[in-house]
């Protein structure tokens, strides 16, 4: 400690000599940071501004931001009228909607994954059994061959199971997660062995071990996995596009169809209102739980 203080003072002379140069350097880095941050933020800022333009006022040369006619929610209203983003009551029941479908398959995926991933990771950490390594490697194949690229053979399986155009079809290929299993296994390995062993001596059953010993200290990892899973599935397009035709279209599909409606033409305010309608929940959650989200995504790349 003392040592570092004395060396620091002897170094301060060199530091003073390069002080003015360093200050210019800091200004340069700050300027570049601000410039790049603005460049990165422009698309979302533009999206938000344009979504408040009236749909009747098209964009034009040098007129791509606020409308002269002021700020209005008309574009949101039109977007909601044009496409079934939200459910409405039909014969006493809620109709199918993009929001309903997305929520359905995202929550279904999450609920099943949390169970399968926890159970499998627990088995791999807690027990020794023949074939353990082999099973583990077989599961890890999913990391090497992402499910997304198997869309053609998986489509055949979904058709054969009779699941075409259901939210279950969108969710089911992701019910087993190699990534989640691996992540939870790493977390469970950090749980102190003494805790596990003393619980075993007290006669705890396997589910008591899992619930009382393994899960409490690893809840953060499970939440992180949940956040990554929800954002991944909320945002996915290709697989839902392939296995749904009408009834079970999710939000991303809704946006795609919206951009392709011919009578909309280049009504950017409508399209941007639709964009914000589909990204809003995740986006607001992200802004509120920023640190947790970023930390979760860091965990999504395990070492």
């Amino acid at each position: 400690m003392n040592n570092s203080v004395t060396t620091a003072t002897s170094a301060s002379r060199t530091a003073q000599l390069s002080w003015s140069r360093a200050r210019w350097g800091i200004w340069f880095v700050n300027g570049l940071t601000i410039l790049l941050a603005i460049m990165w933020a422009v698309p979302i800022i533009w999206t938000i501004i344009v979504s408040f333009r009236p749909p009747s006022d098209p964009l034009g040369q040098n007129d791509v931001w606020f409308s002269k006619d002021g700020v209005t929610l008309e574009s949101y209203q039109r977007a909601v009228d044009l496409a079934p983003f939200f459910p409405h009551v039909e014969d006493g029941r809620l109709s199918r909607s993009y929001y309903g479908n997305t929520l359905e398959y995202v929550l279904m995926t999450l609920a099943v994954q949390l169970v399968t991933v926890t159970l499998a990771a627990f088995a791999f950490v807690q027990y020794q059994f023949p074939g353990k390594r082999l099973l583990f490697y077989l599961i890890l194949i999913q990391l090497m061959i992402p499910t997304a690229i198997l869309l053609v053979p998986n489509f055949t399986i979904i058709s054969q199971l009779g699941l075409y155009d259901t939210t279950l079809a969108i969710a089911i290929p992701y019910f087993g997660s190699a990534f989640g299993t691996f992540l939870m296994r790493q977390a469970f390995l950090e749980v102190p062995r003494e805790l596990v062993e003393s619980a075993e001596i007290d006669g705890a059953r396997w589910y008591q071990l899992l619930w009382n010993i393994y899960l409490p200290p690893t809840r953060a990892t499970l939440v992180a996995f949940g956040m990554v899973s929800v954002s991944f599935h909320w945002n996915s397009l290709l697989w839902p596009l392939v296995v749904t035709s009408d009834q079970s279209r999710p939000l991303t599909m809704g946006l795609l169809r919206f951009t392709q409606l011919t009578d909309i033409g280049a009504q950017w305010s409508l399209i941007m209102a639709a964009t914000l309608i589909i990204v809003a929940p995740l986006f607001i959650l992200f802004l509120v739980f920023q640190r947790q989200f970023i930390q979760s995504f860091i965990n999504s790349g395990f070492k």
Binding site: I38, W46, T116, I145, W206
Partner: protein, 328 residues
């Protein structure tokens, strides 16, 4: 009873406990059904000619059907054609070969450009954001928020930016003195660039957080020692930071490459009007062959190629990272 055995590992091994197998079963069933089985079934179906959209009639003249030399066979199929699709892919004069060469060319250009550029930007962002200034949190959000957007939404926003005349991308380029073509999504090479720009913009912030985590894990005493030696900013960057982040860089490159292979949602908005597929990426072409053109066999054969490419890539990477960790 199981708990009593649990305290004695030797006892535990004697009689096979079914419980761990039952716990792994749910995960294993779904991975077996939707990852392992399709990986093998596609090897089989890539050897089958099948065009269900075509009429079930025989063709007298040669229609250039892969693997079907003799005429007078149904142009609908199915026919067993062996490895004909793979042979056709390697022959640029066949229709399949032409598509294959174009798509592989696009995929390679796309990967070779987006991966290093995104990684470089991610590193620069991480260095910028890894400072304790009051406003730096805003910059971090600005770089990271595209990660939370669906790729299709990102592409929709950028569709406007690429609009001729008043799209902000074109306006910005014009201000910088560029006077080239403005219709970025109708033109082959520009269409590919449009896809790359959106991908870079969306992923730089995602990769940034791994570098950020890496930077925050670096030992501070090394930098203090370097300061004492009067080492400059550049020296520290190239002699300390980058070498220490080698494992992070390797890891980030894996994520970047896998991301670039499996995310093609932006193509549905940006280049879907290029009907001849001038800017198609591999996964998008697989989708198009199977679900738009109804060329089942070719789509399956392309899936096999994609699996092989990914396996070769992950194996190489695994080998490299094992060897590097041995060195350390």
């Amino acid at each position: 009873m199981t708990t009593a055995a649990g305290t004695h590992p030797l006892n535990r091994r004697k009689k096979i406990n079914l419980l761990p197998y039952l716990l792994i079963l749910p995960t294993f069933v779904f991975i077996a059904l939707f990852t392992i089985y399709p990986t093998f079934s596609v090897l089989q179906s890539s050897q089958e000619y099948y065009h269900p959209n075509r009429p079930n009639r025989t063709q007298e003249t040669d229609l250039n059907l892969p693997g079907i030399e003799e005429a007078s066979r149904s142009i609908r199929g199915p026919h067993d054609v062996g490895l004909a699709y793979f042979r056709a892919m390697l022959d640029p004069s066949s229709p399949e070969g032409e598509v294959f060469f174009q798509v592989m060319g696009n995929t390679i250009i796309y990967t070779v450009i987006t991966v290093p550029v995104t990684m470089l930007l991610a590193f620069v962002f991480a260095v910028m954001v890894n400072r304790s200034l009051r406003w730096i949190g805003l910059a971090r959000v600005a770089f990271f928020y595209p990660t939370m957007l669906p790729l299709v939404s990102a592409a929709t926003i950028w569709l406007f930016f690429f609009t001729p005349d008043y799209g902000l991308w074109n306006v910005a380029l014009k201000a910088l003195g560029y006077s080239g073509p403005q219709n970025w999504i109708i033109n082959r090479s520009l269409g590919l660039w449009a896809l790359m720009i959106v991908s870079i913009w969306k992923n730089a912030g995602y990769l940034m957080i791994f570098y950020l985590a890496g930077l925050q894990g670096l030992p501070q005493d090394v930098y203090e020692a370097a300061d004492l030696d009067g080492a400059g900013w550049l020296t520290k960057m190239f002699r300390i930071t980058l070498p220490l982040l080698r494992r992070t860089t390797l890891f980030v490159s894996v994520i970047a490459i896998i991301t670039s292979f499996q995310n093609v949602d932006h193509a549905f908005v940006l280049t879907n009007e290029l009907v001849t597929g001038e800017a198609d990426l591999l996964l998008y072409e697989i989708y198009k062959q199977r679900f738009v053109l109804g060329n089942y066999g070719f789509a399956n054969a392309l899936t096999v190629v994609m699996i092989v490419v990914l396996l070769v890539f992950t194996m190489t990477n695994f080998y490299l990272s094992e060897r590097r960790s041995d060195e350390q």
